[in-house]
Amino acid sequence: MADRMRNAVTSVTNVVFPPSKSATDPQQQHLMKSGLDYVSSLPLQMALYFNVFYYPLWLITCIVGLQAKYEALSVLYKIIIIAILVVMTVVEIIRLSLGYIGNLTEKVPELAGFWLLTLLLQTPLSLFLLLNEDTVILPLERAVHIILVIFVIFEVFMGYFAIRALVNHQVTKFHLQQFTNLEEISSEEYIQLQGGYRHEHRA
């Protein structure tokens, strides 16, 4: 049961983030260089940087807009919009900090967390705020939501490519590491190993 789950998760991972063919081909390992010294994605970093500055502007506009149209909303949408705003506020902070740390320090788990939060939470929520006419969208809110949706969709695409590049780079480094570890055994250790082997052989 656990094996089947693991196989399923592995196959899903291989479909969503397919390893590049050259990374899995054992013949090419010794030929391939590990590429750039850094694999952080510049477009993603720029998008995150500007998103961090844009976030307070969006938040204040949303809250002021909500306060202005609160009376005109039905009870259901009052609850829905307040819930969405609270969730988006918290998620955005977590998402942006994860993206920053993941991209700058080239850590895959943080970047993957950022990408999942962006894809699964921010995209539907921001599209909901932009496109659902029942929430009495003010023109000002329309404008700020359009810009937020552009940011979020751009980060989804750029995040995918960044994670793929990062994963390929780390797979390559890992494979190359295995070869360099063998070369680094010093000569004394080698003789010791050989001597020990001969001792055992005679005995």
Binding site: F50, F53, L57, P139, R142, A143, V144, I146
Partner: protein, 137 residues
């Protein structure tokens, strides 16, 4: 570079503020068009003024695109001159457009705002494009 560290986000935010107000104007230009017509107006006059305002807003959006390509593409992101010109003009545009919407100014005054605050950064941006492409600066 220490000066530029604050200039780049400031420039970005003023561009965004100006852009937001232009998009708002697309949806709420009714009061402004009515303000520049006489008390009793015909539908054709209204349509004419409305179309003029829409054209102005659309050209403004196009100039925005031009400037954003230069800014995000990196051509003019780290040039302090263009940074200051851009920040100043977009900030003044944002303030004037806020008054424009709030106080229902005449739609003809939009063209003044447009010429000083949208055209000026775009023209400087085009000059920078020429400089980068032709003279390899």
């Amino acid at each position: 570079m220490a000066v530029l560290n604050g200039l780049v986000p400031a420039r970005f935010l003023t561009i965004v503020a100006h852009l937001v107000l232009i998009i708002v104007l697309f949806w709420s230009r009714g009061d402004n068009v009515q303000a520049c017509l006489p008390k009793y107006y015909t539908n054709t006059e209204y349509e004419r003024k409305d179309t003029q305002l829409i054209i102005g807003l659309s050209v403004s959006l196009g100039l925005f695109l031009l400037e954003l390509i230069g800014f995000i593409g990196g051509l003019s992101m780290f040039l302090p001159t263009q940074g200051f010109i851009s920040t100043f003009s977009h900030a003044s545009a944002a303030v004037s457009l806020a008054y424009f919407i709030q106080d229902s100014w005449e739609c003809d005054t939009f063209w003044y705002i447009f010429s000083f605050c949208s055209c000026l950064p775009a023209i400087v941006e085009i000059i920078i494009f020429m400089g980068v492409c032709c003279c390899n600066r």
